[in-house]
């Protein structure tokens, strides 16, 4: 881990990988959308509406994945003072908030025709809404301090405390009666989803993950540059 602790070296490597990962993101998303929206069959129960799944489910996965990434980065920041960890966590937060909003909105659009309601306060929907507020709260807290170091530390603690919500979201559909159905893909006796629908779903999930990587690196680059500018200004002010 600490081989990449040098921000300059990290940026050099990231810079070289970025065009390739961007290309792969575009290709995967185009393929995923084509298979999801055109080349996959309609569902026996839900008909064409099932196509919302190809956006909704990967977005919800990303919402959890990005928050977990932020929590891991926060541990690394608090315990080992890894110099890139707080940059990564802060760069990831708005992307995670975006995916969470996407999951909530597409879920609402899907709920109306299938369940007969836009929104219910069941355990799954409510805990995801809390996740969305955690993202927003994190972003607000990090920027609420004059000293960026203190903002980073407060944010890291909030990210860790909020991490308790991630297993609650994941298992809410198993622990309590909910309107939301249980997991289809990750379950004990194999996915409850036909291969012709699983493949576009996984393609979209991969595409979203690559997209996250690309935007994360771009945002981290911006934040690292901003920090250098800040440091140079301080030096200048001293002279």
């Amino acid at each position: 881990m600490h081989r990449f602790a040098n921000p300059a070296r990290f940026m050099r490597i990231a810079e070289r990988l970025l065009p390739w990962v961007s290309g792969a993101t575009g290709l995967t998303l185009i393929a995923g959308l084509y298979f999801g929206l055109f080349a996959s069959p309609a569902d026996y129960q839900q008909g064409e509406t099932v196509r919302i799944m190809y956006v909704h489910v990967p977005a919800a996965w990303m919402a959890l994945f990005i928050y977990t990434t932020m929590a891991v980065a926060s541990v690394s920041y608090i315990v080992w003072k890894h110099p890139l960890a707080d940059v990564a966590a802060q760069a990831a937060a708005p992307i995670g908030a975006g995916f969470t909003a996407m999951a909530l909105i597409t879920g609402s659009l899907w709920g109306q025709p299938m369940w007969g309601t836009w929104w219910v306060w069941d355990a799954r929907l409510t805990s995801v809404l809390i996740l969305f507020f955690l993202y927003l709260g994190y972003m607000a807290l990090v920027n609420a301090f004059d000293d960026p170091e203190r903002g980073s530390r407060a944010g890291a603690i909030l990210a860790l405390v909020g991490f308790i919500n991630v297993p609650i979201i994941k298992f809410s559909v198993d622990w309590w009666n909910t309107l939301h159905q249980p997991a289809s893909v990750v379950k004990m006796d194999g996915p409850a989803i036909d291969n012709s629908m699983l493949i576009p779903l996984l393609l979209m999930a991969l595409g979203f993950k690559l997209y996250f990587l690309v935007v994360l690196v771009i945002r981290m680059r911006g934040e690292l540059t901003a920090r250098r500018v800040r440091a140079l200004r301080l030096v200048e002010a001293d002279v």
Partner: protein, 147 residues
């Protein structure tokens, strides 16, 4: 103990305590966290008659009918052990049919659950129609719905 180890221990213990606290709170509030009761739970939980609640289960086979007024749908909701009669005035969701999972909100009046809202619950199975038909034909069907 090095500062790193100390910080790691603090983070670990902090998360452990937070986790236990959350687990206790969630267990204590369990009854408020469930979105609906199944017909069997209704008997054991002893819910007062005038309380607005949600019940959930499958629409019992050959139980769907209409009352004489032509707009009130009647059916029974079952969890395959117990079942309760439900009356609902209004349009049912598209997915509503016998064998389908549903959630109804309302209250009991003289032993009949008077629903003010009926939501369809769909299961976690996704497959093309042809596959569903083939499974039904070969008798391997495990999903919802019987149509």
């Amino acid at each position: 103990m090095t500062p790193k180890r100390r910080r790691l221990t603090i983070v670990f213990l902090g998360l452990l305590m937070l986790g236990s606290a959350t687990a206790l709170v969630l267990t204590a509030f369990e009854d408020n966290l469930v979105f609906f009761y199944s017909p069997t739970e209704l008997e054991t939980k002893n819910i007062g008659p005038d309380r607005r609640i949600r019940i959930g289960g499958l629409v019992e086979e050959e139980s769907v009918g209409k009352q004489a007024d032509g707009v009130t749908n009647t059916f029974r909701v079952t969890d395959l052990t117990k079942s309760v009669p439900v009356a609902f005035k209004g349009a049912l969701p598209d997915l509503f049919r016998e064998g389908q999972g549903i959630i109804a909100e309302g209250r009991f009046v003289k032993g009949v659950f008077q629903a003010s809202e009926v939501l369809a619950k769909h299961d976690e199975t996704y497959m093309p129609r042809e596959v569903a038909d083939a499974l039904k034909k070969s008798g391997q069907w495990k999903g919802q719905g019987t149509e």
